[in-house]
Amino acid sequence: MEQSALLVTLLAMLCVLLASGTWVGLTLVALAAVAIEIFASRSAGAPVATTLWSSSSTWMLSSLPMFVWMGDILFRTRLSEDLFRGLAPIMGRIPGGLLHTNVMGCTIFGSVSGSSAATLTTVGQMTLPELKKRNYPEHLTIGTLAGPATLGLMIPPSIIMIVYGVMTNESIAAINIAGILPGFVLAAMFTVYVIVAAKTDPTYKPVPEPATSWREKLSALWLLVPVHILLAIVLGSMFAGFATATESAALGVAGALGLAWWQKTLTWKNFVDSLMGATRTSAMIALILAGSAALSLAMGYTGLPNDLAQWVATFNLSAMGLLMALLLLYLVLGCFLDGISCVVLTIGIVEPMVRQAGIDMVWFGIFVVLVVELAQITPPVGFNLFVLQSMTGHNIFRIARWSFPMFMIMFIMVFVMIQFPGLATWLPSLMLPVTVQ
């Protein structure tokens, strides 16, 4: 009885505070304070402060600013130009033509950047004008950008996976590695879609690309080498157990700085801009995480998540039933909240249920990321839709309609993941543990 009063109060408070525009991190702190003071009848200030300190000063969390900084440095290099100039001669003549540069560009950039919007802007700035010039139909150009850009969340390093790892106490490196195969499968599915769309869409009449010789193709490939070396360092060191997530992230920063220096784009201004950008982005995430730490503490006092898990258990849902319920929950939440807030708000409550159902937490992390990716292109609040709206001037509902085939592909991918869980769990099972800590 008292638990349901608590649940209703907290949910009502959450809705009112979020809808009125209260900052997500502070909203969570306020909820925690109310839950502890009123429902657990204790003084909340001291324990919340201690929790904020201990959750924010963990070394595990420090992979976050490192990966963010790495992406921010690369964002300011010639990387996106090189990606396009390298990919265009290779992709130009196959069915779908330069539309493939959207998918491939997002796949590659997604693997150096941890966020979806950064991937979208970097790749889109380059491909959108070029594809328009060559008369590619706009609905395909924009649609095949909106979907694949979400690969930034799935292909490591991924900020949202770091957040998930910190919250569930699972290995950040393992979760990131787990994203590789599903990311590639998704990219392959997008590629197939591009080919099919190019063959069947009557409006698809681009200016044909000039034929390129093998020599030109090879020299174009050469442009893609540096970024792949960087990727090999970051993912390889993590996978081989040579470095922890934070260490490989720091190596990535060093590599990105080196790359920028080599390309002569490492000016003092670019350095400071990337550093301040990374500082703000990680502070933004840290505030939400701090709020969630406070809320988890409160939940621990009240025992709500366990009671909820037990309540859910009384329905005797199969693992599949639970996943479908959660899929629905995340799709609805994702309509109003950004990906990280979705994860932060729910994981504390969802984790006991999922563990109780015997679902692998690393696999579940990939599931959540995939579902959150879906939410990035659902109206009315999809971050990718907003970014594309400001880039192209089209209204978000039109962009959402154009991205709908991508939405369906990702939706199918959810079931592929459920059918073949090994996609996510196989690679992490091969990882070597980090020997020295």
């Binding site: 490192m66 963010v68 966020s115 190596l251 502070a283 933004m284 505030l287």
Partner: protein
């Protein structure tokens, strides 16, 4: 409200000057946070290097953790001032003339929460100092020293939230940019 806005211009000038100074406070605090971010990078690289030569420096990961906290807390206000912290603006934009009421409400909640956090952060530092709390890790740092970053950062955040709330009340505009940096 109109009466306040029509107040004499020298008063306005003084306000603008204060606001400029405060903006600089947030920015410098942000720069300091960025320095700590670089320190995370340097300690982590040092850790990798020391492992390569087979020598382990004690407590490096603990320091990386303190730098992480400092880099986050000290940047809160700067990020807030930059419109970087996440809030949902969808419903605000649908509220029409009730928007102002909702906006006031959200700012007042933020003032209460940030102020409350800052207060208890200082109290935590005080007790760590008083009880002579030492880090559990290998570094054996008196814990109140790194904890200062949290108290200072949250205090500057509280100041900036109060500051923008006053801007909202006095001028009807909280002057926070709307577009978030990244994500």
């Amino acid at each position: 409200m109109a009466g306040v806005r029509a107040a004499n211009s020298s008063q306005h000038h003084a306000l603008d000057k204060t606001w400029n100074r405060l903006d600089r406070l947030y920015l410098y605090s942000g720069y300091l946070a960025a320095v700590f971010l670089v320190l995370i990078f340097l300690t982590t690289m040092l850790q990798v290097a020391s492992r390569l030569v087979g020598y382990n420096i004690r407590g490096l990961t603990d320091f990386a953790g303190y730098f992480m906290a400092a880099s986050a807390f000290l940047a809160f206000a700067h990020t807030f001032n930059h419109g970087g912290h996440i809030r949902i603006e969808l419903f605000l934009s649908m509220m029409g003339r009730f928007r102002t009421v909702a906006e006031w409400f959200s700012f007042l909640v933020a003032v209460a929460t940030a102020g409350w956090l800052a207060w208890y952060a200082w109290s935590m530092v005080y007790w760590s100092y008083k009880l002579n709390d030492i880090s559990q890790g290998l570094d054996a740092t008196p814990i109140w020293i790194p904890q200062l970053s949290m108290a200072i950062g949250l205090s500057v955040l509280a100041v900036s939230v109060v500051d923008h709330t006053l801007r909202l009340i006095l001028t009807g505009d909280h002057r926070l940019p709307t577009s978030p940096d990244a994500l």
